[in-house]
Amino acid sequence: MKVPLKWLRDYVEIRLTPAEIADRLTMAGTEIGGMTATGGDWDRMVVGQITAVGPHPNADRLHLVTINIGPEQPTVVCGAPNLTVGDKVVFAPVGARLTDPHSGQVVTLKTAKIRGVESSGMACSEKELGISDNHEGIMVLSPEAPVGTPLTEYLGDTVLDAEVTPNRADCLSITGIAREVAALTGQAVRLPDLGYPETGPAITEVVSVEIADPDLCRRYCASLVTGIRVGESPPWLQQRLLACGMRPINNVVDITNYVMLEYGQPLHSFDYHQVSGGKIVVRRAAAGEVLVSLDGVDRALTTDMLVIADGERAVAIGGVMGGANSEVTGGTTAILLEAASFNPANIHYTGRTLSLPSEACLRFERGISPELTVPALRRATQLILELAGGQAARGIIDVYPGRVETPPIRLTTARVKQLLGVEFSLDQIISALSALGFTCAGGSADPSMMVTPPYWRTDVKLAEDLVEEVARVQGYDKIAITMLSQPIPQHDPAPMPRLKARVGQALVGYGFQEIISYSLTSLKQLGRLLPEPHPLEPAPIPLANPLSADQEVLRPSLRPNLLAALVANRRHEDNGIRLFEMGRVYLPGTGELPDERDILGAVLSGPRQEASWHGGGGNLDFYDTKGVVEGLFRQLGVAVDFTTANDDSFAPGKQAAIVVAGNRLGVIGELHPRVLQAFEIPETTCLLEIDLAAPAPLTAAHPRYQPVPRFPATVRDLALVVEAAVTHRRVLDTLQGFSLLTQVSLFDVYTGGQLPPGKKSLAYRLAFQSPERTLTDQEVDQVEQQILARLAAELGATRRA
């Protein structure tokens, strides 16, 4: 809402600077997002009056114009078509800065000879002043404009850009802002006198109004003015509309817009002679009904929309836009003025459905008071009579089926203190509320009061609303700063944030960079992870209204975004890349909501070690990935196991499922060559994925303490030769059950020339230890022999010579 300060001063005395006013309004809830001073660059320009218009000696289209600017009477060369002796115009002397109408650049006016005649200055168009795009002729000022006055003083203004919150429909008006300013600065509001001569016939004889659907229209008021002359609005009116960002159209339409800006009540004007039978019916649109709106568009209406109809047809979409069939035109001689109160939700629905957001919609949908209709209607009728002539019918139509009495609200000083934590006296409270137009009456039990909001404050319904009014008028800075003094609640454990912190910290320690990516992705991107024909099971959850095809579904997997991030970084990273994300995936759920699961995903690709003078270390591979998972679970204190997996995104045979307590929690592996190709990644890339919300508890129960060994261990190295197909895992399983064998670690795997074909060597370091005594060599020899015998029997293993 643009608020020109000069206009605001019509209703409230302002003694503060514009910046101070802006600050008061901002602090009290209506943020002034900006201030524009118009006319700041009208240096040297003054109001002038044309005293003579004569022909140019050398050009038919140009004139020599003499302009009185006080003591001087300069003559300028002018080509404008609208030169009338006596008109007040804007005179720009040499040296003034104005907008070049052709280039749009700001230029400094110089003395110029035009077709042989010297011109020392010029009369300006609106475009040259930067007021509008109008360059049809020179700008004609109001006849009252004082000759010789600097233009900045006469036309310049400061316009506040008020960001009105959705609850304050009343502040979408100059008088509404004036009421705020008055309350915040201790001034009174002066509103226009709404009287006008009613010289026509009684309106009830020529106009009838029926509200068929009172749920959508609480009140409908109308006035009638006949014998009017439609034409241009006077300059002062046009300038105010322009300052508020509205284009002047004609005096009738301009007045309805002006009064809407002034009072906040949208109005509509019908060409009375196009309203069949002078009859207005406010009703829901019929199924299939079509109306051509003022902008010439065919509007297909639904039965949920409200129309204003005459005896035969719809003539407007109620509160949203008028119809072309009853539009006020240059030939209109009688107008029917409408000021009505429509259902906010319905206006919101209709405006949105027809994609017709308008200044009127904006006000109606925020819920303006039905009490506004009469003052706004009277004001508009008065202005029409003043500016377009004619006779007003006697009386107005006022159909008001939706009158609701607003009961007073009980407010106590205790309630104010209870919410604000600061004590305001009854007097302070009453003074704040009265300044805003609230009526306070004594309550039954002191100190309390019964408060009736003024009609324009449709947003105030509860004692809490009143408390805010008191606080914002007194100032939020009057409220103390205290810390919460209540007991801290007993909190049930919420393990997920802590688990994520631990998991992430481990990965950060292993050199992974955390990324955060969009939760939305595309079917195309997901398809790259799977073989043709990309059977995505279960189907990802689509958005009903995606912004773009790139973000059409909720991601069922972190994989595409991780790989996309890898690809984007590969272009500029020479070293290995390790990325992880902990975020949600969204799967179809069993209830109303999707199943959101917190997942850890990570990718590893490129050289294992940073390029360095210490030497390299090969490329990141499956075992780096497995090491990360092993390290992570060691830190979590949870035993982890790996089994074979069969995931289409991973290379066959180079993937494993992560198993905890018998549950598959995720997968690790090298990506399938097809996936690498689809993402255009040339080198081996590994990915790991762990479902953090899986049923197996990733937060281990506290472990039982094991005594630290008191007696030394005996260590033996044992190199075995086995069939190549025998896995490390089978060796480990075979070594189960030897009580003195406390630790087994694999330190070498060898296949090659020194072994028979089809064989491999696995070398283990075995630690033997007893909690009760130091073992003798003989005891250890004995166990080692048993171990070898069992390995030979179960795996065909032999000791490598």
Binding site: T26, A28, G29, G33, G34, P166, R168, A345, Y349, E365, R366, L420, G421, V422, V467, A471, R472, Y476, D477, I479, A480, I481, T482, M483, S485, Q486, P487, A494, M496, P497, A501, G504, V508, G509, Y510, Q513, E514, I515, I516, Y518, S519, I541, P542, L543, A544, N545, P546, Q551, L554, A565, A568, H572, G576, L593, P594, E596, Q609, E610, S612, W613
Partner: protein, 344 residues
């Protein structure tokens, strides 16, 4: 004999003084203190002397022995010290890079959320999370934002269900305040939680708008909680996050789920409040919206607003590191460019 001992001592000590290598100490010891040394010979020959002479020479000889042994020990210590003080095996070029360890970092948004969470946790708040795909009810209705409320227009919404076709359609939450609605419904006062997470708005991407970003809402409900407590809690947050001496402003603002409503802004640190591009020439930077929970919101959750009151706030996360680090394009956070992420 006594003169011989004196001369021996003088000679031995002079010789010891001239030694500069640890290896030379052992030959010296053998020469002067060993089994075949002159001193040992004198001590062995004592038995052949008269009692008086034996006492005199023996005492002196033993003192010389002790003196030489002490001198040797001191010399050894001095030489060892000197040896440790000088570089061994050549000089190390300390300017060569160390063996690189891979270094990872948290995303700056995660860092910010954890920093904020730590502040509120120390004030007794618990960190909780809620669903991102949410019912219309928790995102809007329970927060006193009925259908067709104009406040909905400011929160353009991604829908999973077309909103017109379902009674309680599912949407992507437009604010983490939806978690507040759930917490109020499932817990009873005293309540103190903060709710970080992702939120979604149907907005075209530019340097300050994304369809997905992060928020942290917070709520405390108990008997006797006041707006003074709200100001205190949020001021304490601002002081600890932005630093001692931060200027904080509380002004009236409107959010449907609170009454009275509050906006908290901090003084612009770029221009020190004079007005600049960062603060839109106002000198203030809006940090969060807040207020006292609307009685209707408490009532929806089955909490009696006559007995209990609550404070609540919600803040955008991205803005905070943008201010702190001078980041001018919000899109950088989710471009996941390592050259950006490694800076934090």
């Amino acid at each position: 004999m006594l003169e011989q001992l004196e001369a021996l001592k003088t000679r031995a000590l002079r010789e010891l003084d001239g030694i500069s290598q640890i290896q030379a100490l052992e030959p010296w010891r053998v020469r002067y203190l060993g089994k075949k040394s002159e001193l040992t010979g004198i001590l062995r020959g004592l038995s052949g002397l008269a009692l008086e002479a034996r006492k005199a020479v023996g005492g002196r000889a033993n003192r010389v022995k002790i003196e030489l042994e002490d001198s040797l020990a001191r010399k050894r210590e001095a030489l060892e010290e000197a040896q440790m003080a000088s570089p061994q095996g050549g000089i190390t070029d300390i300017s060569l890079p160390g063996r690189p360890l891979p270094g990872g970092r948290w995303h700056p948004i995660t860092q910010t959320i954890r920093e904020i969470s730590d502040i509120f946790v120390s004030m007794g708040f618990q960190v909780v999370e809620g669903p991102e795909a949410e019912k219309n009810y928790y995102n809007f209705t329970a927060l006193n934002i009925p259908d067709e409320h104009p406040a909905r227009d400011t929160q353009a919404t991604f829908w999973l269900d077309p909103p017109e076709t379902t009674a309680n359609p599912v949407l992507l939450r437009t604010h983490t305040t939806s978690v507040t609605a759930r917490i109020l419904e499932t817990r009873r006062p005293p309540i103190r939680v903060i709710e970080p997470g992702k939120v979604y708005r149907y907005e075209a991407i530019d340097t300050s708008h994304l369809p997905m970003f992060h928020q942290i809402d917070g709520v405390a409900v108990d008997r006797g909680i006041t707006m003074a407590d709200l100001k205190g809690t949020l001021y304490e947050f601002a002081r600890r996050f932005f630093g001692e001496g931060v200027r904080v402003r509380f002004r009236c603002d409107y959010f449907p789920f609170v009454e009275p409503g509050v906006e908290m802004a901090i003084g612009c640190s770029v221009c020190a409040g004079k007005g600049c591009r960062v603060c839109g020439n106002t000198g203030w930077i809006e940090i969060l919206g807040a207020g006292m929970l609307h009685p209707q919101v408490l009532r929806y959750a089955g909490i009696d607003p006559e007995v209990y009151s609550g404070l609540a706030w919600g803040m955008g996360v991205e803005r905070l590191p943008m201010l702190r680090y001078g980041i001018d394009d919000i899109r950088l956070f989710y471009s996941n460019d390592l050259r950006f992420l490694r800076q934090f």
